[in-house]
Amino acid sequence: MSARTGRVRILRGREWARPVRPARRELVSALPELEEGRPPLLFVPGFGHGAWAFAEHWLGHTAGRGFPAYAVSLRGHGGSAPAPEATLRAYVHDVTQAAASLPRQAVLVGHGAGALVVAHALARYPARAAVLVAPVLGGWGTLGAALRHNPAGTVPAVFGGPLRLTRRQLFSPDLPDPQARQYVARLGRAGRRAQWQLLAHRAPEPAVGAPPVLVLGSPDDRVVPPAALTRAARRYGSAPLLFPGMGHDLMLDARWPEPIDAILDWLAKA
């Protein structure tokens, strides 16, 4: 099913009957000195990452270019409340809540599995635009790639254990080793149910308000194979923007300014 068309679903009886329980949410921000009327960006980190991953470079850079920048930590990650039994639906709830709490209609930027959360959130919140960075949209291909590059870190996750990502998966060799090791040490883990849902979940419903969607990533990403990147972009009717030589964590890798500048240029143009 294409992400742009498809049937709008009005009745959500089961969701209304069982609303997601609230959990304390970490929302960090960097605001431009001068309000220039630009749309705010909400960055959504992937599994294992918290808002810190964006606070490192991208938030400040975005604010420096005049866009209000926010990053949320999904429950169980970063400074948000612990949530070992979290589901994908709870993560989507966290993102729509964070987005609706912003003063103006936001651009959602999801990284890794956070892009999948954003793809689902787009059906619940009319984002001004969406950016999927190195999107892990799930399915068995994701598992295949992870097993190929990091069998020892992946196998436990299949059985409900934590998914351990390695330095080689996340970063290019350009990033100084101590820095990379420090980032890897900060990684947490997603809920095991959410990890399983990464493999089998319903396709995202059509996005509300048909926002423009940009997909970008790296052909040398060891988590998202280039074919998956192309597939993701095609779903939203475009081709991926590529940054060769970078690892999966484009926001932390050595050449982090390039992708964020591309995103902001695209927004300024759109």
Binding site: R7, V8, L11, W16, Q97, R124, G209
Partner: protein
């Protein structure tokens, strides 16, 4: 125009046409006019803009929120108004209320929700505040001439021509007062619930509250706490659903059953069983036995009424027969002497700016004949949004009405044959109801079951968009 917000707005007088009687009309092209910036008007404004339409919204007050803005002179809310449907049923489907809010938010929180909605989607710049619509007339080509002026009748009138009109003027502001014999002779104080604002108005008085709706029950409870004596007069017995069942908001429990498509008869049986286990037999308290099945009247959600009846703070009494100089005679012959009578007898919809026959309301009874409670036969570019009495929250229903109308307007251009099929459906289905059997009463004219209604909207949307 005396609107305070029109700075920086492009001049609308791009084209000037002439009305049949020679008035000059500024043609607004494909722009859509939305009347009212309450919950339903805001939903219409946001969704029409999202579908690419230019929108002019007229609001007679100086702020958004309509009925939920207590500063507005037509607002029916009182200080203690809380929602009676829980958050998931009340929020707009694409703009959730903060999840740290209570299950049943206060009306003040609701107003801040609408203000945030307006700011979040940058709606205020499209609203002409302090401007009331005095006439809406159809003109050739399914277009509309909308005449406006400053609220209160100051300043010149001004007529603009629109491609479509959304009426979202609300239906809870024009009080409905039943005629009682001898009411003019009654020497006590009388008021309609619309002028009830807070408990100080009943403090220390002998109060009769007339009406068994949610407002009547709320005011009876406040009178129980504050007044020296309180009678509560209802025409019939009701099922008083508590706000919480099994520790969860009652509507969420009910929708859990709906989601499993549990048949109505079984849900009725379960509901009665749960009520028997929690509230129990109300006739013991002197309340009349309900003369109808569960779900056949608009739900009354109140946990406190029975509690105060049990404390003897509320005396349930039957319907009012007639008024005397200082006493009120009830249908059972009993005479009581209240100092204050509060009529919580509801509201009637009013479209003072529109020929009632346009909405199929030929006798001007306040009972339009529409399809999906929104679409008027023969007027494909007119929609009424929010004219629904839902057994649950209203705003999601308004949202989907607005989405359906926006997509209809888009299909009129992109696929006229689909829009024509929709128009035929409107004519065929006008007056259709979306609730199971309900007790016949003017308060149930717009009553819909939210699941049945939304299912009908879903079907309409699917047919409109079908390949």
């Amino acid at each position: 125009m005396s609107s305070s917000t029109d700075h920086g707005r492009p001049d609308p007088d791009a084209t000037v046409a002439l009305a049949p009687d020679g008035r000059s009309v500024s043609d607004r092209g494909d722009t859509v006019c939305v009347i009212g910036a309450g919950a339903s008007g805001l939903a219409a404004l946001k969704n029409l803009r999202e579908h690419g339409f230019g929108v002019d919204c007229y609001e007679r007050e100086t702020g958004v929120g309509g009925a939920w803005n207590w500063r507005h002179d037509r607002s029916p809310v009182y200080a203690s108004t809380h929602l009676i449907s829980s958050r998931p049923f009340t929020q707009f489907p694409d703009f959730p209320m903060p999840d740290d809010w209570p299950d049943y938010p206060h009306h003040g929180q609701l107003l801040s929700y609408f203000e945030r909605y307006a700011d979040h989607f940058d709606l205020r710049s499209h609203i002409w505040f302090g401007t009331e619509v005095i006439r809406v007339e159809p003109v050739a080509g399914d277009r509309w001439d909308v005449t406006t002026r400053s609220t209160g009748g100051y300043g010149p009138e001004r007529t603009s021509r629109y491609a479509a009109v959304v009426i979202a003027n609300g239906h809870n502001w024009s009080p409905k007062l039943p005629a009682y014999e001898g009411l003019e002779q009654f020497r006590g104080e009388i008021m309609h619930a619309s002028s009830y604002k807070d408990a100080t108005q009943v403090r220390g008085k002998r109060v009769l509250v007339v009406g068994g709706g949610n407002t009547g029950c709320d005011i009876a409870v406040e009178a129980a706490q504050q007044a020296s004596q309180c009678w509560h007069s209802t025409r019939r017995g009701y099922w008083y659903t508590p706000k919480y069942l099994l520790g969860r908001p009652a509507d969420q429990v009910n929708d859990g059953l709906l989601a499993w498509r549990v048949p109505l008869a079984v849900r009725r049986w379960l509901h009665r069983l749960v009520l028997r286990l929690t509230v129990g037999d109300l006739t013991r308290f002197g309340l009349p036995r309900p003369d109808h099945k569960v779900y056949e009247t608009h739900p009354i959600v109140n946990s406190q009424l029975v509690h105060y009846v049990g404390h003897g703070r509320i005396a349930p009494v039957p319907d009012v027969a007639r008024f005397h100089g200082s006493a009120v005679e009830l249908t059972d012959g009993q005479q009581i002497e209240p100092e204050l009578v509060v009529f919580a007898t509801g509201y009637l919809p009013r479209f003072e700016f529109l020929d009632p026959s346009l909405l199929g309301d030929d006798g001007a009874q306040g009972q339009p004949r529409l399809w999906l409670n929104a679409f008027a036969p023969g007027h494909p570019t007119l929609a009424v949004v929010g004219l629904v009495q839902s057994d649950s929250g209203l705003f999601p229903l308004s949202h989907w009405q607005a989405v359906l109308f926006a997509r209809l307007l888009r299909q009129r251009v992109e696929r006229p044959e689909r829009a024509a099929a929709f128009a035929a459906q409107v004519t065929a289905g006008a007056g259709q109801r979306y609730a199971g059997r309900v007790v016949s009463s003017s308060r149930h004219v717009f009553e819909v079951g939210h699941t049945e209604y939304l299912r009908a909207v879903q079907r309409a949307l699917d047919e409109l968009e079908a390949a």
